[in-house]
Symmetry: C2
Subunit: 352 residues, 2 copies
DNA sequence: ATTAAGGTCTTAATTGATTAAGGAGGCAGG
DNA sequence: CCTGCCTCCTTAATCAATTAAGACCTTAAT
């Protein structure tokens, strides 16, 4: 019951290892009769087929794409946006017949061996904070890399949306409806677990590039409309969950004067804000407007949101990595659009 | 710019390859000075670090777990139950510092090379139909395997719930409330894309073992309560989506006499049935009771459902595969429980 | 009969590392 | 001075395959 290799079979049959290899991988190179006997002996010995690792080594292809998420996987898959992206990527991988190796980013510490030891042909990096050690590790592997959403790495393809523009689009929507008392709830700005109010300095210091840009878009649109951003209550979350959104909603809606429009970072958060509004008996959109982001969980709730092509981004990432070398570096920005549903309307008249 | 290996560095420095290997993997075996020079030259040559494939071959460990879903990945991740399971598994993998290699099951045909060539230490198989060729391929690899949900493979650990009991529990709940006019909407019985009514013969011939068992539980409970199962309208779906559930709901609710209780296979389907009820202006639970399954998307909608420990199952699967050999075969059944929420109530009095 | 062409199998190089065992040199203790 | 023990490095086996090139034999064409 020891290890069975090609050689074991070859010895049994008194032929060379090469012949057995051919019998498996190139049947026409071997007589039908011998091939039959090879298979017979293989079966008898319980041979598991040519060892994929050895094969990979010899062929120089791993047959897998490495995938790196910033978050714990358990958390990433709770986010409909991530799931959408993942579906796109998975489809591309499927079409190419390669696997998707999901790499863990160990919790707090910087143990990055999984990245160093990953048997993959290329990496797809999604939403890593600036300067995350795993990114260096990935770049050190000298394999093709594409980055999705953040951070932009000069010299490698980047896929995402124009975050400042998208943020501004969301903000401008409520501003144009006449809102002046804004509130913001955002997740994924920093990596430090902070939950609560953030001043402008902290907002600008966000370590996640995409969210930093999105927020800058909010601010730009607000200031363009004459709103003093420093006065806009800004609640930061560390988890993207409906419950977190509700918490932020309660915090924001307890302010005096109460915001008439709340911008959120994700649809899931927006749903939580809607919950908070419901808790307080506030009419949406009559007394409060809420805007989500991603159009990932917005439809059923009638949420106004920014739609981004998550699946397309995933599919394109896969294509770039699987189509060989000519993936030229630079940012590829995908379209986004404002989807107006039933969660936004002009502010009540008495609110100006 | 050719390939840089340990040997390249060794040659440059006039030392042996082994020394360079030690410099990377066992710093204490080499003088600090030499190690410094090794790193320097490695840097200079753009060495990407010890080749993981070669390393894997030599060490005999792949550092990854293979994961096989029956469905297209794009589809699997639309299912909250699958996501929950996956979270559990991912957490276990993360703790062990191994990756998760998601393998594509090519669409229609039986191209199973991805399974044959997967560089993994073990396989986790989830919800494959009876006799799926990929399963044979997996077993042929002679690696540790655990099967989740289906199909049971003698000689390998199996994780899941007691499906017939869980199905019976769901059915008995509405039967005990007094319902006699049942309707059923199920997905994932067959692999053939069929959508529409199914007679008992077809129901029993389902190729997915778990769903077959669950359905048998429904039937057993119904007959126990004196309901003629052959008369219970049974609508089969091929996709687990809210839209599919709505379609089934409309079909079932158009029957005369109209069912007063609808059992569904998944929470997502149940949500769709609720949509259909809303379309028809039916009061739930006043005029119609609906039961979901999995407690994966039921909470917000106030859905009565069967809760199963998805994450625990995933975590346990990971543990079994990563803890080495002593995973003894046999079925491990996880607990399930009935969660009664606001979607079930006694039938309206005039309905008997 | 000679040569060419196939068909079938073998030889041997190659893929890129890890690691047990051993050798050389330096230093301290007896 | 000899011995033993380190420290640092080398030798060489090993992991399990793939594949170009060549050897050998048979058959068919010229």
């Amino acid at each position: 019951m020891a290890k069975v290799t090609l050689q074991t079979i070859a010895d049994r049959l008194g032929v060379s290892r090469a012949t057995v290899s051919y019998a498996f991988s190139r049947p026409d190179q071997v007589s039908a009769e011998l091939r039959r006997r090879v298979m017979e002996v293989a079966d008898e010995l319980g041979y598991a087929g040519p060892n994929p690792t050895a094969r990979s080594l010899r062929l120089g292809r791993a047959g897998a794409l490495g995938l790196l998420f910033s978050e714990t996987l358990a958390y990433a898959f709770a986010d409909p946006y991530a799931v959408g992206f993942f579906q796109g990527l998975a489809t591309a991988a499927e079409d190419a017949g390669v696997g998707l190796l999901i790499l863990p980013l160990p919790h707090g510490d910087k143990r990055t061996e999984p990245v160093r030891n990953a048997v993959v042909d290329a990496f797809c990096v999604v939403s890593l904070p600036d300067g995350h050690p795993a990114l260096d590790e990935v770049l050190g592997r000298k394999l093709p890399v594409v980055v999705v959403d953040e951070p932009y790495v000069p010299g490698h393809p980047f896929l995402g949306i124009d975050e400042p523009a998208a943020g501004a689009l969301a903000a401008r929507h409520v501003l144009e409806l006449g809102h002046r008392r804004l509130g913001v709830a955002m997740v994924g700005l920093h990596d430090d677990g902070h939950i609560g109010w953030s001043d402008v300095a902290r907002q600008r210091a966000a370590t996640f590039e995409a969210m930093r840009g999105r927020r800058a878009g909010y601010q730009a649109a607000a200031e363009e409309a004459g709103v003093d951003w420093a006065r806009v209550p800004f609640y930061e979350l560390s988890r993207n969950s409906r419950e977190a959104g509700r918490q932020a909603g309660h915090a924001l809606l307890a302010r005096h004067p109460r915001p008439t429009a709340i911008l959120t970072n994700t649809d899931v958060l927006a749903l939580g804000v809607l919950d908070a509004a419901a808790d307080l008996g506030l009419d949406v959109p009559g007394e409060l407007s809420v805007v989500g982001f991603s159009d990932s969980a917005a439809q059923d709730a009638g949420l106004t949101t920014i739609r981004q092509a998550k699946q397309e981004i995933g599919a394109e990432a896969g294509r770039l990595l699987l189509a060989g070398p000519p993936a030229r570096p630079g940012r590829v920005l995908f379209p986004h659009e404002l989807i107006v549903r039933a969660s936004t309307a002009p502010p009540p008249p008495e609110q100006r």
